[in-house]
């Protein structure tokens, strides 16, 4: 048996009123990839914050034994000094600085008064080569994609002589190809450098692909540790540990009642708002029927969000051309107000940035898109607003003490429910849900799927944009495949498979303009 690099013993961490971690134990062997899984709010991030010293020694109970000595970290500097480096879900890179500058930020080469730029770029090159990033060290961060930025973060960690790398949801904003590349890099670093890593992820297929061991955390306690080759590593086995019960079906069943065409988009073209020669959506033709869940599958950057937002009152893009029909009549939606009036709703993928007002309570967020409904001649009926918010809270099973609670204090899944409530209250016929389950846990996902089923059973149409293929396959009646701005395939929900969708994407990639 290999040497134990890290052992966290009986870690208990309490916040005022809540026990976030309750006697958690974690053992990580040198040179292994250890996955940490659990629902949102289970305590994974808290545990990692304890480890990296964000919650300093003394603010928790229990011991951290690292490299056979008990460690008392007071801040991140202490833990980094020992080679424990954490890469957070939200990347901490500065857009207008170069790759090399970012890599050595706070760790500058040379002396305090004179940075040695030659050494900086030389070292940067060395670590970029290790992670296999073929970009100049002088490239600005803003000019490379998220996938490459993730590699820069890893290179930065390596430059700090990391022995234990912690990755918090590293693939949450990456497409399938980039995700796979990142996971393969982790395997390569393990093999070639003997690097130990801890990965936190919601994507169970990735976890079972990359991890040697999986520790499941639930409600602040360690439930079990599974070992590759010994235990069952299947997704359903992991889910069972996470939710504490067998999820026999990850997608709730529904009886489809599909009616006439609700909305049709013809010859739709959209150009980039800044680079006006770049075509983002290229001659797209789609339709959605009453009572149908329509999936739009594709890689990140395929133009799906842009398509949806350009339909939704031209919220994205320039020089939009094409025809839009709702219930057989051609409509021109020039702004969001008109789109809402024609009973269209767009539920954004970026709930914190574009969807919710985090500093405001649930009730205010719930009614924001349809204030007229709770007001009389522009005077708000606050009692009505309150009861509407409570109504939706109960309908969607949002977990919160009261609807006066600020949305910023809710977990991701509950925020998503508030966002859905907001748009359901706007009473649309057609809902475009953009990545409705991104970053939320298995239990909440299931509830979101139930809500979608409820919506279509009421005769509404749902367009679901998702990067998670199982979800698209499990939920949709019909699936469009979008790639590089074009619709490259249409599949019936029953016939569709992951392979078919990926084939459409791969066959059309790089073909560009017709």
């Amino acid at each position: 048996m290999a040497k134990i690099l890290l052992e966290m013993k009986n870690i208990t961490k309490t916040f005022p009123g809540v026990k976030a971690l309750d006697n958690v134990n974690l053992q990580v062997e040198e040179g292994e990839i250890h996955a940490l899984v659990g629902e949102n709010g289970a305590g994974k991030s808290t545990l990692m914050n304890v480890l990296s010293g964000i919650y300093p020694f003394g603010s928790y109970e229990g011991d951290i034994v690292y490299d056979s000595e008990v460690c008392k970290f007071n801040d991140i500097k202490d833990s980094e000094g020992k080679g424990i480096v954490i890469i957070h879900q939200e990347l901490a890179l500065i857009p207008y600085m170069t790759i090399a500058e970012n890599m050595f930020l706070g760790n500058e080469r040379g002396s305090k008064f004179r940075i040695n730029w030659n050494e900086t770029s030389g070292l940067a090159r060395k670590y970029l080569d290790i992670v296999g990033l073929n970009e100049s060290t002088e490239t600005l961060i803003k000019d490379i994609g998220v996938g490459k930025q993730q590699l820069v973060e890893i290179a930065k960690a390596l430059s700090k002589n990391a022995r234990l790398l912690i990755l918090d949801e590293p693939t949450s904003s990456l497409n399938e190809t980039d995700s796979r590349a990142l996971l393969d890099l982790m395997l390569k670093l393990k093999k070639e450098q003997g690097l130990t890593s801890i990965i936190i992820s919601h994507k169970l297929n990735e976890v079972s692909y990359v991890a040697d061991k999986i520790t499941v955390i639930r409600d602040g306690a360690t439930i079990e540790t599974l070992t590759k080759g010994v235990d069952d590593f299947s997704e359903s086995r992991i889910i069972k540990g996470m939710v504490g019960r067998e999820l026999s079906d990850r997608f709730p069943k529904r009886e489809p009642h599909i009616g006439e065409v609700m909305m049709e988009v013809k010859n739709w073209n959209v150009y980039h708002p800044l680079y006006s020669e770049r075509k983002i959506v290229n001659n797209v033709n789609i339709n959605v029927r009453k009572g149908e869940v329509l999936g739009i599958s594709g890689l990140m950057g395929a133009g799906r969000t842009e398509l949806a937002m350009s339909i939704f009152g031209k919220s994205y893009g320039e020089n939009i051309s094409g025809q839009l029909f709702i219930k057989g009549k051609e409509v021109h939606l020039n702004n969001v107000q008109q789109a809402i009036k024609h009973k269209l709703a767009y539920v954004t993928e970026d709930r914190k940035g574009n969807g919710l007002i985090l500093s405001n309570p649930i009730k205010i967020n719930t009614t924001l898109a349809n204030l007229d409904e709770v007001s009389n001649k522009s005077v708000i009926d606050k009692d009505k607003e309150y009861s509407v918010a409570v109504d939706y809270k109960e309908k969607l099973k949002t977990k919160c003490p009261t609807v006066e609670q600020n949305v910023g204090n809710l977990s991701g899944g509950n925020q998503q429910k508030v966002l859905l409530a907001k748009w359901m209250f706007a009473d649309p016929d057609i809902l475009i849900l953009d990545e409705p389950t991104r970053g939320i846990d298995v239990g909440a996902k299931y509830e979101i799927y139930c809500i979608i089923n409820q919506l279509v059973s009421e005769g509404k149409s749902v367009i679901m944009i998702s990067s998670e293929l199982p979800e698209i396959l499990g939920m949709c009646d019909r699936i469009y495949v979008m790639n590089e701005g074009r619709m490259v395939g249409e599949l019936d929900g029953k016939e569709a498979t992951q392979e078919k969708i990926m084939t459409y994407i791969l066959q059309s990639s790089g073909k560009g303009e017709e």
Partner: protein, 396 residues
Amino acid sequence: MNKNQVLGFLKKNTMIIVLLIVLGFFAWRTGGAILLPMNVSNLISQNAYVFVLATGMLLCILTGGNIDLSVGSVVCFVGAVGATLMVNLNVPIWLSIIIMILIGTAIGAFQGFWIAFVRIPPFIVTLAGMLAFRGLSNVVLNGLTVSIKDKTTFVNLFGGGADCYVRDFFGGSDLNLTCLFGGMVAAGIFVLLQVTSRVKRVKKNYEVEPFLTFIVKLVAISAVLLIFAYKLSQHKGIPTVLIWVMVVVLVYGYITNNTTVGRYFYAVGGNEKATKLSGINTNKVYFLAYTNMGFLAALAGMITIARLTSAQPTYGQNYEMDAIGSCFIGGASAYGGIGTVPGVIVGAVLMGVINLGMSLMGVDANMQKVVKGVVLLAAVIFDVVSKRGGKLFAKN
């Protein structure tokens, strides 16, 4: 009440408590002079322009911490134009008032246009306005002072001169009965509104605040209203300018709290993108905030020249800073989306009390500025730190 409730109550009403402490301090240091009826009345008359401007500034700040630096100059310019019209050109008073309001609103709309639809940063646009309208005031007045002493109707209407109080219809001798009666009616209406709304909420099974806090709040606010009315009635009664201030406070308090437009200001400041994607025209919200600021600056301009019974090119200097300071002391967030009209009024009263108290104590005017600066900084530090859960230093 348990400990948490007490803490919550203190946190929610910090500035009111600070105001009481400061008032107590000055009452002690001035031997009660600050509580004399005349001084209470002066507090209102001297600071009327701050109340009006701070209310307008709140709307700008709500949209995202945006401020309007031009209000002092606009106050001066509107006053200059008004005085010139009334005195030099003999335009009737009612027409002059309309023209002043229109000019103020037009200036606001002009600045709002660049801010809202062309998206020039408000700081730049209003800095330009601050310079331009200060210069234009000089041009209009030829660098001279125009006295409006003879325009008594105008002066009295907007709270200047010796006779700027509401007439006592009941003819009380030592006590102004109209004022006392007005205070009682106001307290009565307030209690009635609060009770009916609570009864309604209880009936519908909505959450209500604990009964004890409710009663304490009712008694405290009614008592303040009554004492205030009593003090004023001992002096000369209701200053006419108080009517203007009350109208502004009530109307804008209602707008921000109960109307959809009011909601939009908070929404834009909270998350502009989300607001836009909810089908709200955010450009219009910015436009409205700055147009309205111009409108209220015009009102403040009239109040200013009435009180000083003249127009001068130097009037209105630093008025914008008084307004901005009151907003932040009164709990408005420098990032937008948070702040209330009552809060801002408490902030303005606090500033006013400090000014008046120090003047009565005979503190040097320059030191007064120092104290005001310290109070502003302390108020915002307190706000930020208490929101961080009591930790003084931000996490590194």
